[in-house]
């Protein structure tokens, strides 16, 4: 402290000079438009440089916030997109208007190399997640919620041998049930499609409207290979998924608002 005071005393003239110089610069700035413009241009040059540097740092640090915002925006857009699907389609029987609420979540854990795969997401019943909600990603179906805690939920991945999803052809609505054989995380099988329906390689497969979990028309994949067995009435179709489930980060959870009504009807 003493040293500080000594230093201050030693440099008091310089400090005084600098202080008064600042005052006179302010004075100059106040009195003369010309000098004001010079000061402001200098200030602008400096501040823009500093701002640029600061901005790059802060924007990097703010990436997670930005991600959250983008997810929120994506949720809205996804809802619109799904609404569009359901509105355009004239094959909607179960849902006559868009009855799904979209929630966003981040995948915490994802497995894809077992026979029965699960995901864990960072949203729980606190955030409105319930069991048996459909989970989709930006480009396809992910799975169905099966367990919920306060903050987390576990999701049965579609890469699960016991899960079957109602899916159909986009072109004509012929439907079957989609299941995973447990081999390749991008290949699934579509069973129970009648041989009455024409099938071509590359046909798009979408979710069928008969599931409570997903609205109709979410793209799943395309026909990769198919066989027509001689003595059976059903195709054996291999599907290649659009989405790569091994590198997903964000998912959307679909809450079916009219599930209560549906269940009531079913049980009657």
């Amino acid at each position: 402290m003493r040293q500080l005071i000594n230093a201050l005393l030693k440099y008091k003239n310089t400090l005084l000079y600098l202080g008064l110089l600042i005052i006179s610069l302010v004075f100059l700035n106040q009195r003369s438009f010309y000098h004001e413009s010079i000061f402001s241009s200098v200030a602008l040059t400096f501040s823009s440089k500093f701002n640029k540097a600061g901005k790059s740092v802060s924007s990097y640090l703010d990436l997670s916030n930005n991600n959250k915002k983008l997810i929120a925006e994506n949720i809205k857009l996804k809802a619109l997109e799904l609404m569009d699907f359901t509105e355009k389609s004239d094959k909607v029987r179960v849902i006559d208007s868009f009855a799904f609420q979209v929630l966003g979540a981040r995948i915490i854990k994802n497995s894809y190399n077992r026979a029965r795969n699960y995901l864990i997401i960072d949203q729980g019943f606190k955030h409105g997640i319930e069991t048996e909600m459909g989970v989709i990603s930006s480009d396809g179906v992910v799975g169905i919620v099966n367990q919920v805690t306060a903050d987390f939920s576990s999701v049965i991945s579609i890469l699960h041998r016991d899960l079957k999803i109602n899916a159909g052809f986009k072109k004509n609505g012929a439907y079957g049930s989609l299941s995973w054989q447990g081999k390749h995380p991008k290949r699934m099988k579509l069973n129970d499609v009648s041989t009455l329906n024409p099938v071509m390689l590359g046909d798009t497969i979408v979710t069928g409207g008969m599931s409570d979990y997903f609205p109709q028309g979410i793209p799943i994949g395309k026909v990769f290979n198919f066989q027509k067995p001689e003595f059976e009435g059903y195709y054996d179709i291999d599907i290649e998924l659009f989405s790569n489930l091994t590198q997903k980060e964000f998912v959307y959870i679909l809450k079916n608002m009219k599930k209560g009504q549906l269940n009531k009807l079913k049980s009657e």
């Binding site: 003239n13 005084l16 008064l20 100059l28």
Partner: protein
């Protein structure tokens, strides 16, 4: 408050008013206005309090700017010259200057001239640099500095005789 201080205050306001109302309206050759108020900083006791002269220089400059509708050039120039005065004194009279009442007595003429001209030229250079504040006007800055310094120098040199009489 002794008589020295009173005289000093009197000098301060005399020079200030003289500068603001008389010398700033000379416009010799259209642009030359000698800055006689610099005399106050020049004749301030060489061993006087350097902090005080900085404050006085600042007040002198800002009052002059206010009186003459200046932009603030006089403030910065006078403040700066008051701040670097000790360095100029050391440079002009040597490190071991021992002239309590200044260069009026007991110093060589060339030392005195060096001190005067450095004070005047540096002051004017700062003054016009601040007033013009741009590299495009470097010619104007130098021209103004040169001519005005010349006339200020003459005026200050002549006036020093008056101060000497008064102070004695």
């Amino acid at each position: 408050m002794n008589s020295d201080n009173l005289i000093s205050i009197f000098q301060f306001f005399l020079l200030l008013l003289l500068q603001a109302f008389l010398l700033n309206n000379i416009n010799f050759f259209g642009f030359i206005n000698p800055n006689i108020y610099l005399l106050y900083i020049i004749v301030y006791r060489l061993d006087g309090n350097p902090t005080l002269i900085i404050i006085l220089g600042f007040i002198m400059g800002i009052l002059l700017d206010l009186l003459s509708q200046g932009s603030g050039g006089h403030t910065i120039a006078t403040l700066t010259i008051a701040f670097i005065r000790p360095f100029i004194i050391r440079f002009s009279f040597g490190v071991n200057y021992d002239v309590p009442m200044g260069m009026i007595k007991g110093s060589l003429l060339n030392q005195r001239l060096l001190y005067l001209s450095m004070m005047v030229v540096i002051h004017h250079l700062i003054l016009y640099s601040v007033i013009f504040s741009s590299f495009e006007n470097i010619v104007n800055i130098l021209k103004n500095t040169l001519f005005t310094s010349f006339f200020t120098f003459i005026l200050v040199f002549v006036s020093l005789g008056l101060f000497k009489e008064k102070n004695d």
